[in-house]
Symmetry: C2
């Protein structure tokens, strides 16, 4: 079983993430995250948009939202939205997502975390684009809700992308904006001039 050279998956974690005080919390699933990020994922050819939360009722909420747009009134009212939400995969945590990708491709995924703060073990945008195109392993890009991924997720990743607006004096993008910009940088970089 081989991987598609352009396989990129993304994961949005609701736990463990940080709150404003830097404490580890679990955040609530946000309807618009599912819509905006699945639309960007589908646009840039992302195979899977994993939405992870350890809370059963929150995973049920994800399933209900997706079901409405996949099979309910939303599916006939808005076929484009139906198609976008088809990439959403509810999950429990990052370990489960790693396992699902390994089971599918029989290759350990390259797990790349994201952060608005500079981190050690950075992997540059150019390098990650090359890794995605080489297709030697599936790549999973991990995003945090609230005030970002907890240190244990960052530390367990294979690398971390540099902050999007590293030189700006203000760096408080929504996770919806951050995902959109990173997909454009990684998946569309040479297509526009």
């Amino acid at each position: 079983m081989t991987t598609d050279p352009s396989v990129l998956s993304i994961a949005l974690l609701h736990h463990p993430v940080l709150n404003k005080a830097g404490e580890t919390i679990g955040s609530a699933v946000t309807n618009l995250d599912l819509h905006d990020i699945s639309r960007a994922a589908r646009t840039y050819g992302v195979s899977d948009f994993f939405v992870a939360t350890p809370y059963t009722d929150q995973r049920r909420l994800i399933e209900e939202i997706v079901d409405h747009w996949q099979n309910g009134h939303g599916a006939s009212a808005n076929p484009a939205r139906r198609e976008a939400l088809g990439v959403v995969r509810p999950a429990t945590d990052l370990d489960e997502i790693r396992g699902a990708l390994f089971d599918r491709y029989q290759i350990r995924p390259l797990v790349v975390a994201t952060s608005a703060r500079p981190q050690s073990r950075e992997i540059g945008y150019g390098e990650l684009r090359r890794r995605i195109r080489a297709g030697t392993s599936p790549v999973l890009l991990v995003f945090g809700t609230a005030h970002g991924l907890a240190p244990e997720i960052i530390d367990a990743a294979d690398g971390v992308l540099p902050p999007i607006a590293a030189r700006s004096d203000y760096n408080h993008l929504s996770v919806r904006s951050a995902v959109s910009i990173l997909l454009d940088r990684l998946m569309d970089r040479d297509r526009y001039q």
Copy 2:
């Protein structure tokens, strides 16, 4: 009076825009558009985020949202959000925005429309980056809500940017994603590698 070489303003129009059937409508102001787009605008150094609607009650809603985060409870609870929403300017329509920019800079702004569909009179990303950096005139980037800007806005602009995902088989980004990606392409293109 001179312009700052890096002056870029953006406008989000709620009228005249298209609905799914291609009819011209006025759309409702969306709270999260203000938050996500103002955060991206502030991150990329955009001077003004004009939010235009001809409806008085909708402009009042914009003012109330901004006031909550500038002066109300939100200002002390979240200083970063206060700073972001400081770039929001309620407006009536595109003519009023053009006039405000002309009054400020005494130079006619270059008005560039955006569309998910290919249009004639395209201005490329590289060309627009050069125009912004040259600083010979303020640049206004115009976005539509709902299913995009009405033809009369596209036709009256000085140029139109190519669709973001021109080669994708799916091109239904949220306006929040579209603004974020275009600001990154225009304002941050040479800063990351």
